[in-house]
């Protein structure tokens, strides 16, 4: 029955169908975990991804995931842009303890994870690179949970601020480690220094140029929400594409883009950013794809180390926030909740990992063996922690809480 009425049998599933399945499965799983288990929808999206992914049903094969990379980049682009856009230099200037808190929180995490992995006999370079990745909180998860909970208040604001900062600090640390990784592979010092420098400066420059163009164009277009939204998405796509084409860091370029678009807008040409219902589309796809990419294989070998990674990371963030948060004017008890909210790790860490792996394949694989299990744990537990923290802080909207 190869040719029935001119059709090919069995039918070839096009990418469009797969994409529809992906969205639908994510959406339904998200609603189901929300209704029946009162869990954040993200957990459902990720579980749908795991089920569809190469490890379980294989419906989303490796080629599809590769092809969807552009979509993931774009989704992350939107999220990271908003994160950068929310980072307010004025606030950091007015309240200097905020930056001190963020720095402490990031460095404590880095040192704690490094020490824990060294204890489990990982090589110093692997431990350091994993610790740098572990410093960062997943912006996508915290922003999604905050959106879903319609959370508002000081714990929410600080969670987002510290996420923006620990992502940048984590990325910086990782970039500083790269020269040594490079030296492991080759002995060319110039090349070792040149690569990270190119990555950081090039990405930042791309972000700066994009923000400059965005502000000019927004001023010319005027204050119309719909037009500015299209402009913004177009610019984000351009930045993501450019960063990919030039081997720059998508994440650094976009976060700098968002940051400067907000903080250099002296004449306030831009309207406040509101990613509406359409944005949800990107987020569902992003989390399903992240779930599909989760790595559970080889979990047993490093299970203890991965658990230790997760636990010391939380303790380090907790310690830093409990000590420093009150100094920055957060209410008593708020620090611990912010630390809990900062737990998620996911898509962005995968991106950081892939960026590294793209440069040094062997090193990347070794690094992935310890980081991916930790990510898998936190992909599922992280959103729960964030949701719980925002509810405990009394910042979730009452209507979003299930009775």
């Amino acid at each position: 029955m190869g040719d029935l009425l001119g059709h090919v049998w069995p039918p070839q599933f096009s990418q469009a169908i797969l994409f529809g399945v992906l969205l639908l499965a994510g959406l339904l799983a998200g609603e189901a975990v929300r209704r029946f288990l009162a869990l954040p929808r993200i957990v459902g999206y990720a579980l749908a991804g795991v089920a569809l992914g190469p490890r379980v049903s294989g419906l989303l094969g490796v080629e599809v995931l590769q092809a969807a990379r552009v979509f993931v980049d774009l989704s992350i682009g939107l999220i990271v842009f908003e994160l950068g856009f929310r980072l307010d230099f004025d606030w950091l200037k007015r309240n200097r303890w905020l930056f001190a808190t963020a720095l402490a929180e990031s460095l404590f995490s880095f040192v704690a994870i490094y020490a824990a992995l060294r204890y489990f006999d990982f090589r110093p370079l692997i431990a350091a690179a994993a610790a740098a990745i572990g410093t960062a909180t997943s912006p996508a998860v915290v922003m999604m949970v905050a959106r879903e909970q319609r959370a508002e208040g000081q714990v929410t604001e600080r969670m987002l601020l510290f996420t923006a900062l620990n992502c940048m600090i984590g990325y910086l640390l990782l970039t500083l480690i790269l020269p040594w990784v490079h030296l492991e592979h080759q002995t060319d010092w110039m090349e070792a220094l040149w690569r990270p420098l190119y990555l950081l400066v090039g990405s930042a420059l791309a972000g700066y140029l994009a923000s400059f163009a965005l502000l000019r164009l927004a001023a010319w277009i005027g204050k119309r929400e719909d037009a500015q939204f299209v402009l913004l998405v177009a610019m984000i796509v351009l930045v993501v594409g450019t960063a990919r084409a030039l081997d720059l860091s998508v994440m650094v370029a976009v976060v700098v883009f968002g940051l400067l678009a907000h903080n250099l807008d002296a004449r306030r040409a831009l309207l406040p950013l509101r990613i509406g219902a359409a944005g949800q589309l990107f987020f569902v796809a992003l989390f399903v794809l992240t779930g599909a990419n989760l790595e559970f294989g080889g979990f047993g070998a490093v299970a203890l180390a991965a658990m230790a990674f997760v636990v010391v990371r939380f303790l380090a963030k907790g310690l830093a926030l409990i000590v420093f948060a009150p100094l920055s004017g957060l209410r008593p008890g708020g620090g611990g909740l912010v630390a809990l909210a900062l737990l998620p790790m996911s898509g962005l860490s995968v991106t950081m990992l892939q960026d590294t792996a793209a440069l040094y394949a062997g090193f990347g694989a070794e690094l992935a063996s310890v980081v991916l299990p930790a990510i898998a744990i936190l992909e599922l537990l992280g959103p729960l922690a964030t949701q719980y923290a925002l509810q405990r802080a009394n910042e979730s909207h009452p209507e979003t809480q299930d009775k």
Binding site: R86, D88, D90, W91, R94, N95, E152, G153, Q154, E157, G222, K223, R268, L271, P272, L273, R274, S328, G329, R331, H397, P398
Partner: protein, 373 residues
Amino acid sequence: MSDETTFKPSAATSIGVELELQLLRARDYDLSRDAQDLIARLDKVKLSGAVKPEITESMIELNSSVHLDYESLCAELETMRDAVSKEAGLLNVRVSGGGAHPFHDWADRRIYPTARFRNLLERYGYLAKQFTVFGQHIHVGCGSGDEAIYLVHMLTRYVPHFIALSAASPFYQGEDTSFQSSRLTAINAFPLSGHMPFVPDWSEFAEYFEKMRGFGIVESMKDFYWDIRPKPEYGTIEIRVCDTPLTVARAAQLAAYAQALVAYHLEERPQNPARDTYLVDRFNRFEACRYGIAGELVEPYLRRKKRIGEDILDTIAEVMPQAHRFGSAGALSELSAGVRAGTSDADWLRQRRTERGSLTDVVHAASDRWQGK
């Protein structure tokens, strides 16, 4: 007489104000919900006045202490404003005057978690959240309950003045309302809004109050949302029709005007209370909300129409001798100058919209102005 109906006399013509303020997110200038955190911080700051919660978490209320003259009131308000702005800054919250937030969505508001405010939500439903509007209340001290009743009746005639001079809520729910003050419309919806009944003295007022309490309609004086009401526990009358202006200076000027008016009426007793005042009251009030100083009011004693602005200028001239005594002649002259120039805070907000193109920018500019930048 019960506690509620015992009038505790205070220093006549002393003044104090309450200012309801908007708390804004620095990110997008929509209303924030940081009142609790901000008040907790301000509790640790030594202030001569008080900072209190209001019905939703997007508002706080500044209470001045009692003052005998304009200068000290103005100075205290400035000190309090600066303290509030500073603490709010640490939380990345901005503060602003103005009678209504131009574009917030009332459904997003959250009720401040106290028993009283929760009961209000229970009782009034969505009206409670829509009550997220921002007013200035002016207290003027009275020597006795009878004096307070007399003054409420006499000052009712000037309600349009206070509305027009303070009007700062032209935008509501993202639209230009065409009103100078849209805020009072939110208050009109409440069943106990309006004005005090035409009673001749305190004992009859107390009787009225007990009767309403007997009916189970009110529990305390707080339940009356009247334009001007006696406040027996403070020994004052309270003028409640003003929008919170865009600057503390304006707020203090309005209080100075009320003080001079009260002194003038207590000293000169130019007229007796007249029931007709309440016949024209609704009409006058609408004109002031809609058109501000350009509106017309019906003068109940002379029974003729007059431009509100013109009436304000005449009245200020009349009470100048009293103002000189309180050191507020300059303040009243500034009010007059504004009327002559035909400007108002509402107009200022509209100009910002025309200049900058979005309501977000209007709120930003208003907040810069309030914080004295």
